[in-house]
C-alpha cells in the first residue's frame, strides 16, 4: 500500500456529487462540513437558506477548504438545489413516516456511487436540530441513516458529512486491493527456513548452557519458541539481532 488514489472514472464520479446543506443554523458547521468534504475529495457545496453565510466562523472552521466556501452555491429551495440530479440521498436521524425504510449509510454510499457513474447526484443534510422537513425528504429518492448508539444519536452535522463523504470515497475506492495485513510480510527481507532453524538451535544451545533447558526433559519450550517465530515471520535482520544477543551472552559466560 503506498497510496489510495482514485481511478480517473472514480474521480469523475466524485465530481458529480453535490453536498447540499439545508437551513444550517451555525456557520461554523458549514465551514467544518466543507473541510470534511475536501478531505475525501468532494468539492461541490450547495447551501439552501443558510441562517448565516458567509461568516468568519465558517472560514475559521474550513481551515484550508476555503475554496469550497468561495465556490459554494446558495439556493432558496431544495428543489432549486436538486436541479438536474439523477439521485438524491437524504440523511435522516430517525425513521419517521418514510414510505420505505432508510438504508444504512454504507449501502446508501454504494447506491449513490452507482448512480454517479451516470449523472449528477446529491447528498442532502438537514438542519442541526430539526433535520429535513417531510417535504424535503419526499423530494429525495432515497434515505440513509448512520447507525449511531440508540441512546445517544446526536451527531454533529459536520461529523455526519464526514462519515458520509468517507463512505463515498471508500465505495469509489472499491474493494481494497491490499490484504488485511499486508504489512507484516512485505517490508524487510524475510529470513529463510534454515536461518530460522539456525536461530532456534542457537537459542536451544544457549538455554542448555545456561541451565534453563534440561535436555532430559525439554518440555514444550522449543516448540513454543518455534511457534512464536513462525507467527512473527522473522526477517533476516531480526535473525541477526537475535543471534548477536545470544552470542554476546555466550561470550560473557565463556
Amino acid at each position: 500500500m503506498d497510496s489510495k488514489r482514485l481511478t480517473p472514472p472514480a474521480l469523475e464520479s466524485l465530481q458529480r456529487v453535490r453536498v447540499i446543506l439545508c437551513a444550517t443554523s451555525h456557520p461554523g458547521n458549514i465551514g467544518a462540513a466543507a473541510r470534511a468534504m475536501k478531505t475525501m475529495g468532494l468539492n461541490r457545496l450547495i447551501l439552501v437558506n443558510p441562517k448565516i453565510f458567509p461568516d468568519p466562523q465558517a472560514d475559521a472552521m474550513a481551515s484550508g477548504a476555503d475554496d469550497l466556501l468561495a465556490n459554494a452555491i446558495v439556493c432558496t429551495s431544495l428543489t432549486e438545489a436538486l436541479q438536474g440530479v439523477v439521485l438524491a440521498l437524504a440523511m435522516t436521524a430517525r425513521r419517521r413516516e418514510l414510505a420505505t425504510a432508510p438504508l444504512w449509510v454504507r449501502d446508501g454510499a454504494l447506491e449513490l456511487v452507482g448512480m454517479a457513474a451516470q449523472g449528477e447526484v446529491a447528498l442532502v443534510f438537514g438542519n442541526e436540530t430539526s433535520g429535513l422537513s417531510n417535504e424535503e425528504l419526499a423530494q429525495c429518492g432515497c434515505w440513509a441513516m448512520i447507525p449511531t448508539d440508540p441512546d445517544f444519536s446526536s451527531l454533529n452535522l459536520a461529523a455526519a458529512v464526514q462519515i458520509m463523504c468517507y463512505e463515498l470515497r471508500m465505495a469509489l475506492l472499491g474493494t481494497p486491493a491490499v490484504p488485511t495485513i499486508p504489512t507484516m510480510v512485505d517490508v524487510g527481507q524475510l529470513a529463510t527456513h534454515d536461518e530460522v532453524e539456525g536461530v532456534l538451535s542457537h537459542f536451544e544451545q544457549s538455554a542448555v548452557d545456561s541451565g534453563f533447558l534440561d535436555v532430559a526433559s525439554p518440555g514444550r519450550l522449543m516448540l513454543r519458541l518455534r511457534r512464536l517465530f513462525a507467527r512473527a515471520r522473522l526477517e533476516r535482520e531480526e535473525v541477526n539481532i537475535l543471534r548477536g544477543f545470544l552470542a554476546s551472552f555466550q561470550r560473557k559466560r565463556g
Copy 2:
C-alpha cells in the same frame, strides 16, 4: 431494518476500547471527540498530557457527552495510558518510517474488534498538528490510516475519532464469526502492554550487561525488537519463557 443494536458480546467488546488522545492542543477538540465517541457507543476517554483540560470549550463541544469528560482519565505518558491493553492501534496521517505499512482504518477496526473480544484495547490519536511521536508510534502494535484525498489530508481530530469509532461500531455490528487472523488470536492468553514492555526492558538490560548493546549508541536495536514483538502479538506464556531465558543467562553470569 428497524434498529441496529449491538449484541451483548459486541457491547462488552466496545466497553474494552480506550480512546487515547495524546497532547491535544485545543480543548474544543477533546469535547468534540467525546461527542463523536458517544454517538458510536464508546465511553472510555484517556487524555495524555492535554494542553488545556478541563475547559469550558471542551464542555461546550461535548454537547451531551459531558459524562465522558467527567470520567476522562488524565495521564502523563502513553505508557501509563496503555497499561493492561492487549492491542494498541495508532492513527497516523502518513506512512513515515514505520517498519510495516499501516492498515486502512476499516481493516484496523476489524483487527481491534477481534482483539477486544479477549482483552482491553486502545485507539491512539496524536496531536492536531504533529501527530504521534515516533516513540509513541513504536509503543503501538499496529497503525492505521484514513484514506483521505492525497491533496488535502487535513482531517480534524474529532473527525478522525468519528470515522474510527464509526468503523469500530460497524465492525461490531457485522461481527464476523471468525476474527481476521484466527491463528493469531485463538491460542493462548495474550500478554498485556506492560508485560511486553517488561520483557523488552529485560532484554535491554541483559544486552547491556552482556556488552551487546552500547548504551551510548543503542542504534535501532531495541526498536527492531519492539517491532518484532508487536508483530508477533506475544502471549503471556511466551513472555514467561523469554524472561526465564534471560534470567537464566543473568544468573549464569552472576
